[in-house]
């Protein structure tokens, strides 16, 4: 625990410790994650930044328990509110995905089932687990009653309905027809939450009838429906137009407040990080190389890679040449020894190829993995 007038220590929703993941491919073993260390505090938006191929998506999939068949978690822990997700059975993992972790992917065009309507793709979540969702379904029914009457005196029939809904025990079963109706109401409310125009119509539509932005909102609605504690947003705006991007990101920020979730926002766009995130983690070739609060990170980047990233952002006012980081992303089948960044690092010295630098806290809330700063 560190002191400081500006820091409020919040409890961690997610802690990833020493996560190593390998992929078995016919070309060789890809050492995708090399000891990832990550913490997400309750209620924050953590940005996860890095170039394509650095392992951001793999981290997200590992957290959600959705790694493909040829992936192997070699070592590490993923603690969701203290529980190690890597030790859960498949069924338990599925239940965490149902109720605690939600992930939204990049390209809404391919991530929606083309032959099932949008509404059905949301209601199937709500009707899949009676225990988990029954209270919310009943709540939706009550709310609908309220909306209908809007302060006017209740007719006896509606009163009876209200009493019946309120008296439903958590353990009792609702009829199938009732469940369907309430699920539809609840789904419509989520569609409204993501600001989709004319939710009743969208409910019946199929994915190919919607635009990219609308589809992404629908997918976000599917994520919200599970009231997750942790939301993983993997490059959710990369496939969309710039204007739509801004809308979606703004929506995400609002929603986070409303449903009280913590978010990992994965992106390669530093501007998005600056705009939305509370803290940011920089990732390179399977390692977290720097973590800090956003303002601190931009004002005072420590890791040479972070510095390179920030310098590479073109500024319209400056007349200087475009700067880039020399070299290219390493081959993860035969990664560089020691610090994986050392072949491209302008400050590398003779210890760098020998030692894999650990992530150390250099100043309150600011951690770096670089031998220049100890380790």
């Amino acid at each position: 625990m560190t002191e400081g007038p500006l820091l409020v220590t919040r409890e961690a929703v997610l802690e990833v410790k020493g996560l190593r993941v390998d992929f078995h491919t016919y070309a060789g073993e890809v050492k995708a994650l090399n000891g990832v260390e990550l913490t997400v505090e309750k209620g924050e938006i953590l940005g996860l930044v890095g170039e394509s191929g650095c392992g951001k998506s793999v981290t997200a999939l590992a957290i959600a328990g959705l790694l493909p068949q040829n992936a192997e978690v070699v070592s590490g822990e993923i603690l969701l509110e203290g529980r190690d997700l890597l030790r859960l059975t498949k069924e338990e993992l599925r239940l965490t995905r149902l109720g605690e972790i939600a992930i939204v992917f990049q390209d809404p065009a391919t991530y929606l089932n083309p032959v099932i309507s949008i509404g059905a793709q949301i209601t199937e979540i709500l009707t899949s687990d009676r225990k988990r969702f029954q209270a919310e379904l009943v709540g939706a029914g009550l709310k609908e009653l309220q909306d209908r009457t809007e302060g006017k005196p209740l007719s006896p029939a509606l009163e009876k309905e209200g009493r019946r809904l309120r008296s439903i025990e958590p353990s009792s079963r609702l009829r199938r027809g009732e469940v369907k109706r309430l699920a539809k109401l609840l789904a419509l409310s989520y569609l409204r939450m993501v600001k989709l125009p004319d939710p009743a119509r969208v409910f019946k539509m199929y994915p190919f009838e919607l635009s990219g932005g609308m589809r992404q909102r629908a997918i976000i609605a599917m994520a919200l429906a599970r009231r997750p504690k942790l939301l993983l947003a993997d490059e959710i705006t990369t496939a969309l137009d710039v204007t739509v991007q801004a809308q979606i990101l703004r929506l995400l920020k609002e929603l986070k407040e409303r449903i009280d979730a913590s978010v990992i926002l994965i992106t390669h766009d530093l501007a998005v990080v600056a705009e939305l995130c509370d803290r940011a983690a920089v990732m390179y070739a399977g390692n977290i190389v720097e973590v800090a609060e956003v303002t601190e990170l931009f004002a005072n980047p420590l890791h040479p890679y972070t510095k390179g990233l920030l310098e590479a952002i073109p500024r319209p006012d400056a007349r200087a040449e475009l700067k880039s980081i020399t070299g290219s992303v390493p081959d993860l089948i035969f990664p560089p020894t020691g610090c994986r960044f050392h072949p491209r690092c302008p400050f590398a010295f003779e210890r760098c190829p020998k030692v894999d630098p650990p992530l150390v806290e250099v100043s309150p809330g600011h951690k770096v993995a670089c031998l220049l700063y100890g380790g």
């Binding site: 599925r94 391919t110 991530y111 089932n113 032959v115 199937e124 687990d129």
Partner: protein
Amino acid sequence: MVFVLVGVSLIVFYLGRGLLPPESALAPYITPRMDDATKLQLARSLGVATNSCPSWSALAAHQVECLVPVWGQYLSWIRNVLAGNWGYSLLPGVAGTQTTWDVFWLRFPYTAELAVAGTILTALVAIPLGIISATRNNKLPDHVSRFISLGGYSVPAFWFGLLLQLLFVLYLRVGGNALLPSNGVLDTSCALCLASPGQVTAYTGTPILDALLSLNPVYFWDSLVALFLPTLTLAITSIGALTRILRSSMMEVLRQDYILLARSKGLKERVVIYRHALKNAVLPSITITGLLFALLLGGVVIVEVVFSWPGVGAASVVASTVLDVNFLELYVLVTAFIIVVTNLLVDIVYAKLDPRIRY
């Protein structure tokens, strides 16, 4: 659709009348005692000889003034056909009547029973096999299923049928008795169907349905038993083909991004496979179904020959030896009609399942 049928009829007719000498068209009608004048009369009425033909021998010698051009023959044939007159057949029919129509429809129910049973068996076996194969990819169930499907696809149906008969009649014996009935002669045929034990009224002509409708359980069971081996033989090829296609299409679908999203929603695996994956995977298989049905209708011929099944397929083989063109024409056209209608139905079903298709 009409175009296709007309086209088929054209081809079949041209083959039957155009490539064969005109006398062969008269074969079903000629009795040994007919004199030449009657024969010529017959030829004229059938549209095979012109009115200006002087004599039968002139026709037999193919003299020019006797020959009606194929187009003319076709037109008169079409006129007859549309009126329901398909001429006479050289095959034996019911109680001495020999119209092609009667001969055909007497036998058709047996073939229909076989074809329908084959289709049902194919679906029942191929769908689960394909799904299991795709979901347990590269494990034992997958290997077994691939073996079955590849074997089924490569095995010659006639050999398979004969082998089955050998096996069941000779080698698989329960308590000293053969598993399936035979009289020491290879006769797992539908002799059971034709010798009707108990009360069976022929409502439809198909043994199984008639047994059901007549409420005769013994006969029903016998017909079912007799149906077993032929259906298996008929279905084996299409089981092989359909399993392969379903497997590859299912594997393709399971790789898709939306399956990942479905799993990420925390849905049960069973739901992911049956609601999300299967619905997408059957679409390409449905288009194949039309082709497979055509395969089935062709394979019926072999199965009927091997199992002595009294259907139109076996009859067509006999018809071809005696050059009974009328029968063959009717057979081909009925089959083409069925296939065209099936393809149409398949298209409709496909459009219903895939919301992206709108007509």
